[in-house]
């Protein structure tokens, strides 16, 4: 019987992979019929009729766009994308958003008084239109002044995150190369998504894990008996990808749904909220009090140990430091508290009997743990990730197919094996060999040249302060000018009112973007870039699967006075005579073609690619399916030769290196630490009883697409960002679905729309991150009219180790809003004023 079903399964697999192989050629006939003019006019830009179907790629997937009368009028998912995201419906709204930056603009008072302007006026949204030449002269003049007055510690180049896709136009490379040719700057370490995880995991499992390819889904589906989604919502988060997204993981999640229904795999979602994934899979739910996952894990670990369910042999062969961890677990360490299920139950809200049941379940059969990123975006965010690895080590299934732990199966189709093909490179970020910046000084005057990204605001408020960071000391630099390019600092950083105050210390802020984000509102010089749909480019198809290469045809010419970042920064470098060096004397299509041809050369005859012209016409090249693999299998096979990247080469349950840092908020092994504010009976919960989670949004990519009016209309309530709230909490406050609410705490206040949903338990509300900030005015404490969660979150480091963000450690109160209702100010750009 078992054999039989396995054979059927294998047959299914073969069929599936054959479809994958045959699919393209059969389907491409269909393409040709559906999109006869694809690529024909792309790149020509010769004023000829550009109408017809063109190919485009994006974080939301590949698609074909129909151009009529010089406008994008229709978007259809790429025919090979079997699970396209609803967000494609927002593309046209993104291109033609009323929030688009139309012209280079300068803040009124800055134009009058330059770097001596009244910076408390920042955010009043009054800007003056200038020409490109004026704007770039101003930017260049400021770069000169800052390098001459302060040196490199005076200029900050903001971390570039989810830039628009496209390997040539990738805006961060353009900004960093151009600014780098001029002089050195203060840069950042880490990022806003995985700041704690990527710092702690190298100590524990020897890799960042958060961005590592994971065990292939087909092996998980074949071997796992239990899958635990721990604060992970892949169905929501797999809609977007770092490069052009393929959405291939959904096929496996679909299979998983079938296996759950047939009771072949048991899936438990450990989460305070009933997630999108849980609703889709119809899997089991295990509620846990917010931010108490470490307590739950310790309870499970205690059971594994006391009931001898843990794999001692695995710990002996593959891990170090279990002995140092045991006294803490068993209650013989300094805190004299055994981490029994009863102890855990009192904190995490999961009954002790259920904790024991979970432990037995995980130990009994092959169990795959799949963690999301949310639980490391909180105070002490290092701990749940470390404790998760300890749990996995005790279960002893690390390196086995369908066992062990993953920290990223919700991201960019991780778990779909790589084809093995090389992907295109990018426009060079660095200076060419042997070249020096115009200002070669690297004298940071004793300040750090690199700061943890989340501490960028602290540097403005407390310049010169020395902070701990990952075993070293960082002296926060007093930067006076900041340049942001394709990055929305006023979305990702926590605590708006703290930011407002801090930004007053900045003399000059430059923002380059295509849409009028809050970062532009709080800038002095705003430069309009065009969208990725207004320039020619190529991109990798599938960040991890390396499924293929996608052509990104220019759909329409840049709107208004916007320009590609390449042209913006080439013009900037022209001002100090280095534009030829910057562009290497090549234009857009020469670069695109060169990146393609280099990739083609690297792939050689193993992964044949057509010549550029043919590729550009067709719009894509696809590579066959890769071989499935198991995370850490090589380590399990030979731990000495394939040692982990930890200091010892083994899994470190106890890290002497971290212990030697002597950080009270991140000791030598994972521990339960109380948060500075926590709902469900924790600190400050009497005053602010609701835990607010600011998860990655369902219908945006962070703050991208919030400005797409038709898409926003599908989820906004009374024009505001929805606040998800439980029926119980709503009833208690007399709130009904669709009401206008004020959400507030000591840090800020925002207007939001009530979305009452039984997916949420009492004491938990959700305001999705990326909602645009729209304050009523520049003053500190102003009401946010749209509902940006970071109006309310706190800006503290996770710990001295990672110094990452703690957005999910946030308590709020909610009330029905009865005052005069202000208009939403987040969208539609600035108030254009004429200078006197």
């Amino acid at each position: 019987m078992i054999n039989n079903s396995r054979r059927t399964f294998l047959k299914g697999l073969t069929l599936a992979s054959m479809t994958a192989l045959i699919g393209p050629s059969l389907l491409s006939i269909g393409d040709a019929a559906a999109a006869p003019a694809a690529g024909a006019g792309a790149g020509a830009g010769a004023g000829a009729n550009n109408d017809g179907w063109k190919m485009a790629g994006s974080h939301w997937g590949a698609f074909r766009a129909r151009i009529a009368g010089g406008k994008v009028v229709e978007v259809r998912a790429f025919e090979h994308d079997k699970h396209p995201t609803e967000m494609l419906n927002g593309i046209i709204g993104l291109i033609y958003s009323p929030s688009r930056i139309r012209y280079p603009m300068v803040r009124l008072d800055w134009l009058k008084n330059r770097h001596r302007s009244n910076t408390a006026e920042r955010g009043d949204n009054r800007f003056v239109r200038v020409t490109w030449d004026e704007a770039l002269d101003l930017v260049y003049g400021e770069m000169e002044r800052v390098q001459q007055t302060y040196g490199p510690s005076g200029l900050h180049t903001g971390l570039v995150g989810w830039r628009q896709t496209g390997q040539f136009h990738t805006c961060g490379n353009h900004m960093l190369r151009a600014v780098g040719m001029h002089g050195h700057t203060v840069t950042t370490a880490g990022d806003y998504s995985t700041g704690a995880g990527q710092v702690i995991m190298p100590y524990v499992l020897g890799s960042t894990e958060v961005y590592s390819q994971g065990t292939s889904w087909e092996l998980i589906l074949k071997h796992s008996k239990n899958i635990i989604f721990w604060a992970s919502d892949p169905v929501k988060n797999l809609q977007v990808g770092w490069n052009c997204e393929t959405h291939e993981s959904y096929a496996y999640i679909e299979q998983l749904k079938g296996k759950i229904a047939r009771k072949e795999i048991r899936v438990i979602s450990i989460d305070p909220v009933r997630s999108k994934t849980q609703n889709y899979l119809a899997c089991e739910k295990q509620y846990v009090n917010p931010m108490t996952d470490v307590a739950l894990m310790l309870g499970i670990a205690h059971t594994l140990y006391s009931e001898k369910l843990y794999n001692k042999q695995f710990l002996d062969s593959y891990a170090l430091g279990f002995e140092q961890f045991l006294p803490y677990l068993l209650g013989t360490a300094a805190d004299k508290t055994a981490k029994t299920p009863e102890w855990a139950a009192a904190i995490c809200g999961v009954p002790a009997a259920r904790i024991r049941e979970l432990a037995r379940l995980m130990a009994k059969e092959r169990t795959q743990l799949i963690f999301g990123w949310a639980i490391q975006r909180q105070q002490h965010g290092e701990q749940p990730y470390w404790m998760g690895a300890v749990l996995a080590a005790m279960l002893g299934q690390i390196g086995l197919p369908g066992g062990g732990i993953s920290y990223a199966h919700h991201y960019s189709s991780i778990g779909v094996p790589a084809s093995g093909a090389a992907m295109p490179g990018a426009f060079p970020l660095n200076l060419d060999a042997g070249k020096k910046p115009k200002y070669p000084s690297t004298d940071y005057k004793g300040y750090s040249a690199v700061i943890p990204c989340a501490r960028a605001i602290d540097a403005l408020l407390e310049p010169g302060k020395v902070i701990d960071y990952n075993g070293s000391k960082v002296k926060l630099p007093p930067y006076k000018m900041a340049i942001y390019c394709g990055s929305n600092q006023w979305h990702r950083q926590q605590d708006r009112n703290k930011m407002k105050k801090a930004f007053r210390a900045l003399e000059t802020v430059v923002s380059v973007d295509y849409t009028w984000t809050a970062t532009c509102r709080f800038a002095d010089i705003v430069l309009p870039a065009c969208t990725q749909f207004e320039r020619n480019d190529i991109d990798a198809y599938g960040s991890y699967s390396n499924r293929g290469v996608i052509a990104m045809h220019k759909l329409v010419d840049p709107l208004f006075h916007s320009r590609p970042d390449f042209e913006i920064f080439r013009e900037l470098t022209r001002r100090f005579g280095r534009d030829k060096e910057y562009s290497r004397g090549m234009e857009e299509m020469e670069w695109v073609q060169q990146l393609y041809e280099q990739c083609r050369k690297e792939n050689g005859s193993k992964f044949p690619m057509p010549a550029f012209a043919e590729f550009w016409q067709k719009g894509y090249v696809l590579f066959p399916k890769g071989k499935p693999s198991t995370r850490h299998a090589d380590f399990r096979e030979d731990a000495e030769i394939n040692a982990l990247g930890t200091p010892s080469g083994f899994i470190e349950i106890y890290s002497r290196k971290i212990a030697n840092y002597k950080y009270p908020d991140c000791p030598g092994h994972p521990v339960w630490l109380e948060k500075n504010e926590r709902s469900h009976g924790g600190p400050k919960s009497e005053r602010y009883p609701l835990w607010m989670q600011s998860v990655h949004p369902d219908k945006r990519l962070h703050s991208q697409m919030c400005d797409s009016e038709p898409l926003r209309a599908t989820y906004a309530i009374q024009g505001r960002e929805p606040l998800f709230i439980s029926p119980q909490d709503a009833k208690k406050r007399g709130i009904r679905h669709g009401d206008l609410l004020r959400v507030f705490n000591d840090r800020g206040q925002a207007l939001v729309g009530a979305h009452v949903s039984a997916d949420f338990p009492p004491g938990v509300v959700r305001l999705q991150e990326g909602a645009w900030y729209g304050p009523t005015g520049p003053e500190i404490g102003a009401l946010d009219t749209y509902g940006d969660p970071n109006t309310l979150t706190q800006d503290i480091g996770t710990s001295r180790l990672a110094q990452a963000i703690s957005a999910n450690t946030c308590l709020v109160q909610v009330e029905k809003y009865t005052g005069k209702v202000p208009a939403v100010t987040a969208f539609g750009g600035p108030k254009e004023v004429k200078p006197k």
């Binding site: 570039v160 390997q167 961060g172 960093l176 840069t187 370490a189 995991m201 190298p202 100590y203 499992l205 020897g206 890799s207 960042t208 894990e209 958060v210 961005y211 590592s212 170090l320 430091g321 790589a418 093995g420 090389a422 992907m423 490179g425 990018a426 060079p428 970020l429 660095n430 060419d432 750090s448 040249a449 690199v450 075993g471 070293s472 000391k473 960040s543 991890y544 030829k580 060096e581 290497r584 004397g585 090549m586 050369k601 690297e602 050689g604 005859s605 193993k606 731990a639 000495e640 030769i641 040692a643 990247g645 930890t646 200091p647 010892s648 080469g649 470190e652 002497r656 290196k657 030697n660």
Partner: protein, 393 residues
């Protein structure tokens, strides 16, 4: 039968009695000229692109060439097959022609008769040509491309630096420009072409017994002079001492550190730092007569006991250089290019040598680096980490 033999013998041995010597010499001379003409004609005929592609095996190569700059360009000056693939001076040309008979044979027997079969042999065939170009310094390329006549300022900005350097070193064109005319063979499992410059540097090292050197590329280690008993592998950029050189073999001494947990197969350059210098077979690592333990101490960061070890191995002759700088140049270039595709690459000295492996393994999957390049870049990062460069923080 005998009669014919005798007649022939007489014809060649007896002086002519009927025809004058002058006539004979003249006729012989003319015949010689005609034969030479025929030979040259044959040489010329077989030295045309038309002849080369008359076999369908070679037609694919011509198709590949066409879209490249050596197949079509604005001025219409292109080389034919023999311009690049047949040496221009007489004796080398003859030698190449003799060799070519093998290729014709392969074609006739169908060894490379189809596109798929040709593909299967592409790497080997390309390697033959690369070896030839390596040996003659890409002489055929340089009939047209002459370093002394290059105007570096007219080159693309990105090309200027590398080309100036190449001219100074009189570097062989094919070191860098492989795949310029025909498709590259599948190289995923073979080495990074930038490693060729290291081979070249190693080739010109004058090795003296008793001196210390840097290992230029990963090499096999043996426990015997005959290089018969495999013992492990020595990694790139590893410092070593050459004890003596016997024929094709080189005896070296390795001084390193290892962890006492496990079999002690992996050797590291410094105490407490996971910078791999050699990997030994299990038996070799455990062989007390081979491996001498000089010292043991506990690593404060992990609690593991580390041993200082010394051993003597045999390897193939050559393969070492005076300084690791050329190795780091190759590594730095790979790091800066590959790791800035998605983000600004971190300052190398921002992390210590035991943190880099974890960060690197978490990100390297996004790059197109092959295994050897990955190992090299990691080693570069570790050797230039905050453990060695104290200027950063």
């Amino acid at each position: 039968m005998k009669k014919i033999w005798r007649w022939l013998a007489e014809l060649f041995s007896k002086p002519s009695t009927r025809i004058g010597l002058g006539v004979l010499v003249t006729v012989g001379f003319i015949a010689g000229i005609l034969a030479w003409q025929g030979f040259n004609k044959a040489m010329d005929l077989t030295n045309t692109t038309e002849f080369c592609v008359s076999c369908h095996t070679m037609q694919g190569n011509q198709t590949e060439l066409k879209p490249t700059v050596h197949g079509t360009n604005r001025s219409g000056v292109t080389p034919g097959c023999p311009d690049c693939h047949v040496p221009h001076d007489f004796s080398d040309k003859i030698a190449r022609k003799m060799k070519a008979s093998v290729e014709v044979w392969s074609h006739l027997t169908g060894k490379i008769g189809t596109a798929d079969k040709f593909e299967a042999h592409r790497l080997r065939l390309a390697q033959n040509e690369w070896d030839r170009f390596k040996a003659n310094g890409s002489k055929e390329c340089r009939t047209c491309h002459d370093y002394s006549k290059m105007d570096f300022d007219k080159m693309r900005p990105a090309s200027q630096e590398p080309m100036r350097g190449a001219a100074e070193r009189d570097q062989s064109c094919m070191d860098c420009h492989k795949g310029i005319a025909h498709h590259m063979p599948d190289m995923k499992n073979s080495h990074n072409p930038a490693f060729d410059s290291l081979v070249q540097a190693a080739d010109s090292t004058r090795i003296q017994d008793g001196n210390s050197y840097i290992n230029a590329l990963p090499r096999e280690l043996y426990s015997d002079e005959a290089l018969g008993k495999a013992a492990g592998r020595i990694e790139i950029a590893t410092p070593l001492k050459v004890l003596k050189q016997v024929g094709d073999a080189q005896q070296i001494e390795l001084l390193a550190w290892r962890k006492s947990k496990g079999y002690g197969r992996v050797w590291y350059s410094q105490f407490g730092m996971n910078i791999v210098v050699a990997t030994l077979d299990k038996a070799t690592a455990q062989d007390k007569s081979l491996v001498e333990v000089l010292e043991s101490k506990e690593d404060p960061n992990t609690g593991l006991i580390w041993q200082k070890v010394r051993a003597v191995f045999w390897t193939k002759q050559g393969g070492v250089m005076e300084s690791a700088d050329p190795i780091w140049d190759v590594a730095r270039n790979s790091y800066q290019t590959s790791c800035s595709v998605c983000h600004k690459q971190p300052d190398v000295a921002h992390f210590d040598s035991n943190t880099w492996p974890g960060l690197f393994s978490g990100m390297v999957g996004f790059t197109n680096m092959d295994k050897d390049t990955q190992a090299l870049v990691l080693k570069y990062l570790q050797n230039h980490s905050s453990d060695f460069d104290k200027t950063a923080h």
